[in-house]
Symmetry: C2
Subunit: 209 residues, 2 copies
Amino acid sequence: MYAAAQTSFQQADHVERTQISGPYLVAPYNAGREIYAEGDLIDKCYQVSTGAVSVYRLLPDGRRQVVSFHLPGEMFGFEAGSNHSFFAEAITETKLAVFGRRHMQERSRELLALALTGMARAQQHLLVIGRQCAVERVAAFLIDLCERQGGGRRLRLPMSRQDIADYLGLTTETVSRVVTKLKGRSVIALRDARTIDIVKPDALRALCN
Amino acid sequence: MYAAAQTSFQQADHVERTQISGPYLVAPYNAGREIYAEGDLIDKCYQVSTGAVSVYRLLPDGRRQVVSFHLPGEMFGFEAGSNHSFFAEAITETKLAVFGRRHMQERSRELLALALTGMARAQQHLLVIGRQCAVERVAAFLIDLCERQGGGRRLRLPMSRQDIADYLGLTTETVSRVVTKLKGRSVIALRDARTIDIVKPDALRALCN
DNA sequence: CGATAACTTGAAGGCTATCAAATGTTGTGG
DNA sequence: CCACAACATTTGATAGCCTTCAAGTTATCG
């Protein structure tokens, strides 16, 4: 099990063992590095230690849908069946706690809760993508990300406009235009493209419906 | 437990007990009848015996997103947390096998598999809604439904065009136009609005990308 | 058989995509 | 440290797909 885990992390610079709540590995990933690919065997799951991860799927012609982002503390990598249907990659410099199959079997109760919240997230996201306009989607995204980062007013985006667009079913141009519009209304302010201050939280929330 | 289940089915005409793989109730629902509502306590889960069910969510202004349909043999009703975030209703005359909380606890292993496939379905659907055009969405929907009904060439739609539209993030008019277009290309043929013959399965599959 | 709902079809407009280019940022080698 | 290349983001103009609004046609049910 761990031998298998290690061979697949041969590109990782430093592989260290820790033992906070059971044995696992902590592996570093450079920005853009693939964590697993569609078709890969499912034999571990992951918890983000630092950084951020995107899980996505591709169409033959290159269209991409990001189904989830994962921030520090969040788990991912569990799917139905024995092989992955999605790709996962590190968005930024990232460290992941890696759990083996044995750990997943021992903690199937917690895994159930994770699967249920994963299902809830995806279904909530269906409403956003299926029935909300561009402004509503971006507003919902910013609020969601803000809450998952602790709820402060300053928001750090680990992902690019393209990643956001592929998550929201939009284009980078549209995402950028919406951000500009929200900035114009002073709902948000940008320190730089990846750092957003939420100036009017209530106004932002109102935009989600 | 069963007392609680029974009180909530007082509108059901006939409530019968059966004992195929554990104790449960089989309750009939008229077309359009609500099974549970957003906010309701989660204390049972359901398996479609006959008929069909839709699970959906509403925005304050009435926009609706159907997150899943459930056909005979399929289970639904399990969600994260203690209260429902979604509505469920019978689409047609429907009979449901109802399982209590105790059953859910005893079968948490199977529930995990169900939650994982539910998550997979929702995430797959995200790709369809987020990145595919109207024709691709309808084609994917027809193929999915066809496979879930056994894979024959004749397809019976239990749901209305509005239900389909709310599932695919479109309008009834667009769904209707796409169906007309597919009929014009002889990819499908309609016996009536709810009964579709798949004339060219490969062509239909090709339309999904 | 009439009334109501479901479905289809048509015309026009709006939102977002596409294409294009400017501006800003990041990383690297000299 | 600067220059430059590569990339990310923003902004603009135009086009297309789908929605909206409206009306006609078909099915369903009492």
